[in-house]
């Protein structure tokens, strides 16, 4: 994220490449701890187009907003929209940002350049109230249309607001006991904005969503004069893997438009994260993608360690333990994904149960090392929470060298050549490589479309540059390839695990002490890992205080959904379920 970036040069004064290319429109960000450039709002679209076309930054990883707010009028008061871009051929990030006033936050939309910005801009509008001019469908995405205010803004307070940051004083030192429901008795636990009449409330959410669904399906040319039908799959539907809804517009059985509706599990994770101290966030990351908590820990730990610097560099043994845990997580996640994709195909529970038998054994290992099967909370800044318990390494070795290869092969034999799987999967939901990159798809979805992009290889973190493994790629971009790529990845993970288990050294597992309060210097950092579901990024901004100023999660499940409509249009209604299953989402991460 630093040295490889062509635009960032060590000497302070000579203009950077970007500054030379766009005189007046771009200037370097000179705040301490920040990188990248500040772009004039009016020129943003032009600059972004040039950066994409001339410099080859074709993968928009993350778009998010940060609220710089101070109550004093002379303090800094603006909203910043930060863009993180990468090349799909690998390398470090290019960061640019725009700054707009808080009361008139209007930014040109980049959806026409990067369709992958679609949901992310909607999220920034929803949570920060940044208007993206030119966005084709700027609706709220996680909250509902009637919601008052934009909750991530620093001056927004929820009803029964306690304090800005934890620890809350009435727990310590005052020590008062009360139940949450005593504080928020039913009937009195809501507050309405001024002049709002709950009785007369008219829902605007669904009508607007249907309107947009109709707009996006207008291109469809009808050969026979039939009426189009709208069907809602979900929010309570066994195939949606949680509370997720797809509004589907159909012509006969053919999909002409699809809008995902989400947010049913929204808990404003990022706001909670900004109330928490740095350390407190670690167990909360477990609850994002609860099937792969170790990977989430990894991403967050990396982001914070990057900001702290050398003082938090994990020792050798901790790095190996981290890699072992992350790869075990990947295997268990993919086993789950494969099993439940088959469920979506109608093979009820036999493949799923065969797959999660093996996952169960991996969870046993997590339980013995981290203390919990799913909510691991195992990583710390500068290492891991505790050393591997005695006797666990042989157990992992047995699994990795003996049982898992055998069982994955069995799963492969059981399913991969099955004619039903192939006929339901081949040629269904095809995504071309260009589309996959443009829509910011990540992980297995991207690689199944023939783009060999894996953060572990493209922008290596931790000690992944030491291991030999292939970046798996499949060429067809259909559901079957997205299934096969997960089997391939399990084999690669097993290979990494074998190497890591061979080389793991003895030694310390923490760099120094493990303090309950960490000092994080002011600045920003973006830490990303190749999670099982794709690129998982954490964008954090510190002001040097005990808690993050901004804590943003680039959730792969959420952003991979941007491409769902593209996948499904032109297919049959039965394929929607399979397409969704092949993306492999977890709603804890989608809704955050």
């Amino acid at each position: 994220m630093s040295e490889q970036t062509p635009v960032k040069e060590a000497p302070a004064n000579p203009p950077t490449e970007l500054e030379k290319r766009f005189p007046g429109a771009v200037k370097r960000d000179e705040r301490a701890g920040y990188e990248g450039h500040i772009v004039e709002v009016a020129k943003l679209h032009e600059v972004a187009a040039a950066i994409r076309d001339e410099m080859g930054y074709d993968f928009l990883s993350s778009v998010t907003a940060v609220d710089y707010y101070s109550e004093a009028p002379e303090g800094e008061n603006f909203i910043e929209v930060v863009y993180h871009l990468y090349k799909s051929t690998g390398g470090g990030a290019l960061v640019y940002r725009v700054q707009v006033p808080r009361d008139d936050a209007v930014v040109p939309s980049l959806v026409d350049l990067y369709p992958g910005a679609d949901f992310q801009e909607r999220e920034a509008w929803d949570l920060y109230g940044v208007k993206f001019e030119g966005h084709p469908d700027l609706r709220r995405i996680l909250l509902w249309e009637g919601f008052a205010g934009h909750p991530m803004r620093k001056d927004w307070k929820e009803p029964y607001f306690e304090e800005d940051v934890k620890p809350f004083k009435n727990r310590w030192p005052e020590g008062q006991v009360y139940r949450i429901e005593d504080r928020n008795p039913v009937g009195k636990n809501v507050s309405y904005p001024q002049g709002f009449d709950p009785e007369g409330f008219q829902e605007t959410d669904d009508p607007r969503m249907y309107e947009s669904l109709e707009r996006s399906s207008q291109d469809f040319v009808e050969r026979i004069d039939t009426e189009q039908v709208v069907v809602n799959l979900g929010p309570q539907h066994p195939s949606t893997h949680g509370v997720f809804r797809m509004a589907v517009r159909m012509h006969g059985e053919t999909i002409v438009g699809l809008k995902p509706v989400m947010g049913y599990l929204h808990r404003n994770h990022e706001q909670i994260g900004e109330r928490n101290t740095w350390t407190m966030n670690m167990p909360f990351t477990d609850r994002l993608d609860y099937l792969s908590s170790m990977s989430n820990n990894f991403g967050y730990a990396l982001a914070v360690e990057k900001l702290i610097g050398e003082k938090a560099a994990p020792p050798e043994r901790a790095e190996y333990i981290r890699v072992i845990m992350a790869e075990l997580t990947r295997i268990s996640n993919h086993l789950w994904a494969i099993g439940f994709l088959l469920n979506d195909l109608g093979a009820f529970f036999t493949p799923a149960l065969y797959a999660i038998e093996e996952r169960e054994l991996i969870l046993d290992i997590f339980e013995a090392t981290a203390g919990s099967r799913m909510m691991c909370n195992y990583f710390r800044f500068g290492g891991v929470a505790r050393d591997l318990p005695e006797g666990i390494l042989p157990k992992i070795k047995d699994l990795v060298t003996d049982r898992l290869p055998r069982k994955v092969e069995e799963l492969d034999l059981y399913l991969s050549a099955n004619e039903l799987v192939r006929s339901r999967g081949e040629g269904v939901g095809v995504i071309t490589p260009e589309e996959a990159i443009a829509f910011s798809a990540a992980g297995p979805v991207l690689r199944a479309s023939g783009v060999p992009y894996d953060v572990r290889r493209a922008d290596p973190y931790s000690i992944y540059d030491r291991f030999k493994f292939d970046v798996t790629v499949r060429q067809h971009g259909d559901v079957y390839d997205r299934y096969m790529i997960r089997i391939d990845e399990i084999y690669q993970s097993l290979s990494i695990l074998r190497q890591a288990l061979k080389d793991i050294p003895e030694g310390e597992i923490m760099n120094g002490k493990n303090p309950y309060q960490v000092r994080v210097p002011a600045g920003e950092s973006y830490g990303r890992v190749e999670g099982p579901k794709g690129e998982l990024g954490f964008y954090i901004v510190s002001t040097g205080k005990a808690n993050p100023h901004r804590y943003h999660v680039r959730a792969p499940s959420f952003i991979n959904l941007t491409i769902l409509e593209k996948m499904c249009v032109g297919q049959k209604i039965a394929d929607v379920v399979v397409n969704l299953g092949s993306i492999d989402i977890v709603l804890g991460e989608v809704d955050r």
Partner: protein, 221 residues
């Protein structure tokens, strides 16, 4: 030929089906179900056949690091008095991510200085997220994570805020559920004690030496 893939797949399921019976036959005379070694065999790398565990008749073994709901450790002295290890320093309450710990401190009525042991200690177990931070960061090894995961009760209002009485467990219990951790902590404590004693001894010796040296000097002069 079309259908070969399906037949191969069906073969896999058939093998799984038959294995459930062959495994049971192999265990004739030994207890495959409702016994510890049976459960262990079903969770091993060579496990075949029936994989599941019949809870609550059978239970999975709980590894030492398993964490669920904290408890407070107390020690009993020779006279039979309970002493909390807790000094109510409040680090657990400060580090708790969902803020579910409340500590009631008190001060000595005569000296007006804070009494180290807490008057009461509350944990709302409905809010506790079992992250284990309180145990991890406690400098006095006074709060530890439990192994008991069966907490169901009939009245969450009356029973789900644990007070000090309900949270307190003897140090022997802690030693029994986490023997490796307990031994390690005790060893560290013993080493620290020894170091302290050594330092004190060294100090005394040094003092004696200076006294002697000054005595010697005096003698020399």
């Amino acid at each position: 030929m079309y259908g070969i893939g399906i037949l191969k797949g069906l073969w896999v399921t058939l093998v799984h089906f038959v294995e459930t019976f062959t495994e049971d036959f192999r265990w004739i005379g030994k207890k495959r179900y409702y016994s510890e070694e049976g459960v262990a065999a079903r969770r091993s790398k060579d496990a075949k056949g029936i994989f599941t565990v019949q809870y609550p008749e059978e239970k999975l073994p709980v590894p030492e690091e398993f964490r669920f709901i904290p408890f407070l450790v107390y020690e009993v002295d020779e006279e039979g008095n309970k002493h909390d290890r807790c000094t109510s320093c409040g680090i657990c309450a400060k580090v708790c991510p969902p803020q579910c710990i409340w500590i009631v401190r008190t001060e000595d009525p005569v000296t007006k200085r804070p009494v180290p042991e807490p008057v009461d200690f509350f944990i709302d177990v409905d809010i506790c997220m079992n992250c284990g931070y309180c145990a991890e960061y406690c400098p006095f090894d006074a709060i530890k994570m439990d192994h008991d995961y069966e907490l169901a009760s009939y009245d969450r209002h009356a029973e789900h805020i644990y007070n000090k009485e309900k949270l307190s467990k003897p140090v022997e219990y802690y030693a029994s559920i986490r023997p490796a951790n307990y031994t390690r902590e005790e060893a560290i404590k013993a080493a620290e004690e020894a170091k302290k004693a050594e330092a004190a001894a060294a100090k005394a010796a040094a003092a004696a030496a200076t006294a002697q040296a000054s005595g010697g000097e005096q003698a020399a002069s």
